[in-house]
Symmetry: C3
Subunit: 158 residues, 3 copies
């Protein structure tokens, strides 16, 4: 697979990722991760210092599915929606059989009454593998947010 093709497939995975969240097809979002896929959100400060813990943590697709169920119960999507704008991925040296990439993102939030705000910016630090069917899936997505100020209610995927 050439670099150009790899980048295009990664861009396609990111587009799909954003579409699941922004078009409120959240139930399809965990399917973009491997069964043992990890998803974390952290801040640039923590990332630089090597603190791995992060704010939101899931280390399997099942945990992501649980999280989506909680979001549905809380009716989060009744009150706000999101729009991801995702840049081109940059390939990084990765382990055997996986692709490592860093990708800048920006998320705008629109409230029910029409107000918009810049909700988050940062980079995705990803490890990505092909699943049994040959589709690209996240082995790990670490969301590194530029701001350390988080809306404490945030349980929405970034």
């Amino acid at each position: 697979m050439s670099n150009t093709e790899t980048l295009f497939r990664l861009a396609g995975l990111n587009t799909e990722y954003a579409s699941c969240i922004d078009a409120d097809r959240l139930e399809e979002w965990p399917g973009l991760f491997l069964e043992q896929g990890r998803y974390r959100i952290t801040t640039a400060d923590n990332y630089r210092r090597g603190y791995a813990a992060g704010i939101i943590f899931a280390d399997s697709r099942a945990m992501l599915t649980d999280r989506v169920a909680s979001l549905r119960e809380a009716n989060i999507y009744e009150r706000q929606k999101y729009r991801h704008i995702i840049g081109m991925p940059a390939l990084r040296p990765g382990g055997t059989g996986e692709i490592a990439a860093e990708t800048p993102f920006l998320v705008v939030r629109t409230m029910r009454d029409g107000r918009m705000d810049l909700f988050a910016t940062g980079i995705y630090v990803d490890r990505i593998c092909e699943d049994a069917g040959g589709a690209l899936r996240f082995a790990e997505r670490l969301v590194v947010c530029d701001s350390s100020r988080f809306d404490t209610l945030v349980a929405i995927p970034l």
Copy 2:
């Protein structure tokens, strides 16, 4: 035409689209539509409910050209300018001889005095065909805005 090539050509069409608007070459903008091309702006709420009407409507290139003439008379571009940031398109199942795609966008507005604001975010829902010369042109561009709050003066293409 491979998927990679299709996506690249679509991205090129979007770049040209944004450039016509943002660099104030509005007169070239209708030329990116087929002669019977449709252009509509609507909200995510209306789109989800299946209301097709939308806020701004043109169902031919000639109507788009008329709209541009009105904008020139109103001197809209004297007071503000726009910057589109457009994501990668996602291909969708489409009719024969056309490409269907959804593409996220964000528009920032800069006022004459230098103030900037987040003006609009959303997706483009497009049907695209090759014209007689083999160039990609919009058979339909539906602009689905995340916010339902519109500046009532907005007549500027998004």
Copy 3:
């Protein structure tokens, strides 16, 4: 080199450019320019009127390196960070042996206390060449900002 490949290589150069600035690897930033590379920042108004001077000016890689050293002394990065979101490049007619391109960008600034704001939008107007090793480097990057309001303290690369 096909257009698709050219665009991909340009997108890769832009990704690297943004990453040097946003991940605070500023010292690597001048290396993306040719030794006689020029870097300027100007406003859309000045650009339209043909005023070439611009606000920040460097006409060699050595001057860019000096600028980075000044930024380090001023501890600019202690107080704020940046996130570039860069669109797809549009190829423009260029001279022999060089690629000419225009590329939209948006920069979000995050302050130490977590506040984020839309810092700048505009286009990069670039002339790009291959260096002796075959890597793409900027012969010239002209940053054309939509807003004419500049933070007078801005010495940060855009």
